[in-house]
């Protein structure tokens, strides 16, 4: 990976990122999260901001940096939507998949999953066989069809 790695305490993420933006990192390339539950690492989550210095005139990549914020259970971070508007959807996605909450921003709701979905599917303690279909066989009921595939077990419930 090109660029250097920086670490920041979770409560200082906005200050660190604002300083990096003032340094010239004008583009938020990605905002994502890793769950280290299976490695028994504390704190459990690692929220990663990837930034790029982008020359708008030449269209060139002038350097990258990665900021890691380690956060524990029930994680809360300060939103950076005011620095980079693109953080809006990225924060919604991280909340949707990992349950990391972002403060000081409106309208935090699921981006990819549906509103009826319970839990955060990319957390390592989300059961791998858990299914939450909106329609279809929840309780083993079969679709009303002669061609319905009765041989295939469908994983439902817990």
């Amino acid at each position: 990976m090109r660029g250097e790695r920086k670490d920041s305490p979770a409560e200082r993420n906005h200050e660190e990122l604002a300083a990096l933006k003032a340094e010239g990192y004008n583009m938020l390339v990605d905002l994502t999260c890793v769950d280290y539950l299976s490695q028994n690492q504390t704190p459990r989550f690692d929220v990663i901001y990837r930034l790029m210095k982008f020359d708008l005139i030449e269209g060139q990549d002038l350097g990258r940096v990665e900021l890691h914020c380690a956060v524990g259970e029930a994680p809360v971070l300060r939103s950076v939507k005011d620095l980079w508007p693109v953080a809006d959807w990225l924060e919604r996605e991280v909340w949707d998949m990992f349950g990391v909450q972002f403060q000081d921003r409106p309208d935090i709701r699921r981006l990819l999953m549906y509103e009826e979905f319970v839990g955060h599917p990319l957390r390592k303690d989300y059961p791998i066989t858990k299914r939450q279909p909106l329609i279809g066989p929840k309780d083993g009921a079969k679709a009303d069809s002669p061609s319905f595939n009765i041989l295939k077990p469908t994983i439902t419930g817990e």
């Binding site: 299914r131 679709a143 069809s145 319905f148």
Partner: protein
């Protein structure tokens, strides 16, 4: 009754009404392509001039389910879009047929996870399964001829 009266006049043939209806319907498949994923590329290839689905009378995709009689489900169906697919199926007039195009629609494929429907036959009745990831156009055309056979046998039923 004299023998001459039972012979049909020249230029006509006798048949059963169901067989005639099935014959007519199998060569005028009005498809509704429900394209959600990468299989759509292969569907375009099968439908465009090189492989030419039009040879089998299925050359006219309708983009309203109310004008279609064959629902082609092309691509992975997630739980989020499953109610939409069900609703589109319910909007189609009878008689109607459903084709599961590609392995994701048949069984969920390798997406055995929290987001993917494990086969669209858990949501809508399916008449024809075309496996493959994605299926080659030859497979699609073979499937289409099998669907035509099915329509010939059962599609003429007066419901």
């Amino acid at each position: 009754m004299p023998l001459e009266a039972s012979i049909p006049p020249a230029g006509t043939m006798t048949t059963q009404i169901e067989a005639a209806l099935g014959w007519a319907r199998k060569y005028s498949i009005f498809q509704y392509p429900f394209v959600t994923a990468c299989c759509g590329m292969e569907y375009m290839s099968a439908a465009a001039s090189h492989y030419d689905m039009d040879r089998f009378g299925a050359g006219f995709p309708r983009f309203s389910p109310r004008q279609a009689d064959c629902l082609l489900v092309v691509g992975t169906i997630s739980h989020k879009i499953a109610p939409v697919l069900r609703r589109i199926y319910e909007q189609m007039p009878r008689p109607k047929w459903v084709v599961a195009f590609g392995v994701c629609t048949c069984t969920g494929g390798f997406y055995n996870d929290y987001s993917t429907v494990q086969g669209i036959d858990t949501i809508v009745p399916v008449d024809l399964y075309i496996p493959g990831c994605p299926p080659r156009p030859e497979t699609v055309l073979h499937g289409l001829t099998l669907l035509q056979e099915k329509i010939q046998k059962t599609g003429g039923r007066l419901r």
